[in-house]
C-alpha cells in the first residue's frame, strides 16, 4: 500500500493502536474502512455510540463585510436567516443547477462563516468560491489546521458530557457552541450535527489537539467505539443522507437528489443556479432519487443500471448495500421520475442478470 503519497489526518498514527483494518485511499486520504467490523460498528452507532475521524473534511472560512452576501450568492439555501452559532446544510450549485458540493455553513460571527466541505472537493470549491470573490471578503482554507471528530449515537450526548461542564443537552440540532473545553483540550467547536441518522456531535479542534481529544473520548467511556469509513457509509445510506460523487454531482441537481429542501428559490437575493433551478422546479424534475429493495437475490451497487419491468433502461444505482439495520439488500437509484412511485416494480442489472426490485419508502431508517 502506497500510504506515503496519501494524505494523513492527525489521527493516522493512532489507527493501528485502535486496531484499524484496511487503510484505503479515500479521495486521496489514507483512512480506515473499519476497526472491528463494518456491521459491528454500524450497530454500535445505532445502539450506543461511535467515534469517527472525519478530519479529511475541508474547512473554508469566509469573513468580512460582504461575507454574508458572498455566501448567500454561492449557496442555494438562505444564509441570511442564520443566527450566530447556528449551522445550515446547503447545496452549492453551478449556473445550470448541477451541484458543485453539498456542505454545512456555520455562522461563527456576524461577518464570519465557516464552510465544511467534502474532502475530495476542497480545491474545486476554493476555486469556485474565489472565482466569485467580492471586495471586503477574505477567503481562507483552514483544512490543514482543523481536525474533525464525530461522536454519533444515542449515548453520544451522555458520553461527551463526561468531558465538559457545558450543558450539551441544551444544544439544539444544527446549533453549536464555540471555544468549549473538553477534558484538557481547548477551543473546540461542539456542533449538534452528524451524518449517521442518529443524535450526535461533530467536534472541530486544532490539528495539534486532535490526538488528545480522540484519546480522551475513548477513555471517558468504553461504550464509545472507534468506527471507520465503512460504517459511516452504511449509516448515512440508511438515513438517505447524500454522498457527493454518488447521489450528487455536477450533472445531478439538488432537486433530483432529493435535497430540494436546501433550495430556497424565493430567498431575498439572487444565487448561482437560481434560474435553472426555478425552471426545473416549475417543470418538475425529470429524474428522481428513489429507494429500492431487491426482492430476488443480489446486492445493488453504485453504477448498476436500473430497468423498468418492460426492460427499458430508466436510471442507475447511486449507492447500495446490504443494510445492517434493515437486513435487506437496498439501493438508492436515480431514475426517470415516472418510475418513482412507491411499489413500482423495476429490475437492477447485477453483472449479467436482471434482478427484480421494488421502489420503497425512504429514508430506509428513521431514528425513533
Amino acid at each position: 500500500m502506497s500510504d506515503k503519497q496519501l494524505k494523513q489526518t492527525p489521527l493516522f498514527d493512532l489507527y493501528q493502536h485502535n486496531g484499524a483494518k484496511k487503510i484505503i485511499d479515500y479521495g486521496g486520504w489514507a483512512l480506515p474502512v473499519h476497526f472491528s467490523s463494518i456491521i459491528d460498528e454500524h450497530h454500535a452507532v445505532r445502539q450506543k455510540a461511535g467515534l469517527f475521524d472525519v478530519s479529511h473534511m475541508g474547512e473554508i472560512r469566509i469573513e468580512g463585510e460582504a461575507a454574508e452576501k458572498l455566501v448567500n450568492l454561492l449557496m442555494t439555501n438562505d444564509i441570511t436567516s442564520l443566527e450566530i452559532n447556528q449551522a445550515r446544510y446547503t447545496a452549492m450549485c453551478y449556473q445550470n443547477g448541477g451541484t458543485v458540493d453539498d456542505l454545512l455553513v456555520y455562522k461563527l460571527a456576524e461577518q464570519t462563516f465557516l464552510l465544511v466541505v467534502n474532502a475530495a472537493n476542497i480545491d474545486k470549491d476554493l476555486d469556485w468560491i474565489k472565482a466569485h470573490h467580492m471586495d471586503g471578503v477574505t477567503i481562507t482554507n483552514l483544512s490543514e489546521h482543523i481536525a474533525q471528530l464525530a461522536v454519533q449515537g444515542p449515548e453520544a450526548v451522555n458520553i461527551l458530557q463526561k468531558l465538559t461542564d457545558v450543558r450539551l443537552a441544551d444544544i439544539k440540532p444544527f446549533r453549536f457552541v464555540q471555544n468549549v473545553q473538553l477534558a484538557d483540550v481547548t477551543d473546540v467547536l461542539v456542533s449538534r450535527t452528524g451524518y449517521t441518522g442518529e443524535d450526535g456531535f461533530e467536534l472541530y479542534v486544532s490539528h495539534d489537539q486532535a490526538q488528545a481529544l480522540w484519546q480522551a473520548l475513548l477513555q471517558a467511556d468504553d461504550r464509545l467505539q472507534p468506527c471507520g469509513l465503512g460504517a459511516r457509509d452504511t449509516l448515512r445510506f440508511e438515513a438517505k443522507l447524500a454522498l457527493y460523487g454518488q447521489e450528487l454531482s455536477p450533472s445531478i441537481s439538488p432537486f433530483e437528489a432529493g435535497i430540494g429542501f436546501t433550495v430556497k428559490i424565493d430567498k431575498s437575493s439572487d444565487f448561482i443556479g437560481r434560474a435553472a433551478l426555478m425552471k426545473e422546479k416549475q417543470n418538475q424534475p425529470t429524474r428522481k432519487l428513489v429507494g429500492l429493495e431487491i426482492i430476488d437475490k443480489g446486492i445493488p451497487r453504485h453504477g448498476y443500471k436500473v430497468f423498468s419491468s418492460s426492460n427499458q433502461e430508466i436510471g442507475f444505482i447511486t449507492s447500495g448495500t446490504h443494510s445492517p439495520s434493515i437486513q435487506k439488500q437496498l439501493g438508492l437509484a436515480l431514475v426517470q421520475a415516472e418510475y418513482g412511485k412507491l411499489g413500482t416494480e423495476v429490475q437492477v442489472q447485477i453483472r449479467s442478470r436482471l434482478v427484480d426490485a421494488v421502489i420503497v419508502e425512504t429514508p430506509f431508517y428513521k431514528r425513533k
Binding site: S37, I38, I39, G230, H322
Partner: protein, 128 residues
Amino acid sequence: MDLPNDLKYTDEHVWVREEGDFISIGVTDHAQDELGDVVFVELPEQGEQLSATDSFGSVESVKTVSELYTPVDGEVVKVNQALEDTPELVNESPYQQGWLIQIKPANPDQLKQLLDSQSYQKQLSEKE
C-alpha cells in the same frame, strides 16, 4: 493468517481440498479478512458445468463484490446451501463450514498448477 498445509491454493485466493474424485473449494482466510463482513454469496446450481476461465459466482461483503473463479473445469456436484441464510460462515470458518462448492474435475491435470500453502503464503507476503 490460517493456511492449512493439506490444502492447495490459487492466486485468486481460493483454496482447494482434494477428496477422491471430487474437489471442494472455498475462499482463503486472507480473502475473507480482506472482504470484511460477508453478507451474500452467489453460487451456481448443482449440475452446472464450470469453466476455469469464467467467474462462477461471487462473494459480497458490505463494501465490495469479489468474483469467484474455479481453478479447474468441471461439474458442480454439491453446493453449500447453508451460505444462503448464513453467509457469515465464510468469515467464521473459511476452510470448514464456509466451503462454497464441490466439483468433479473434467481435467484433473489442471490441479497440478495449484500452489501449496508455502507458495501461496509467499505470494501474500510479496504483495504486502
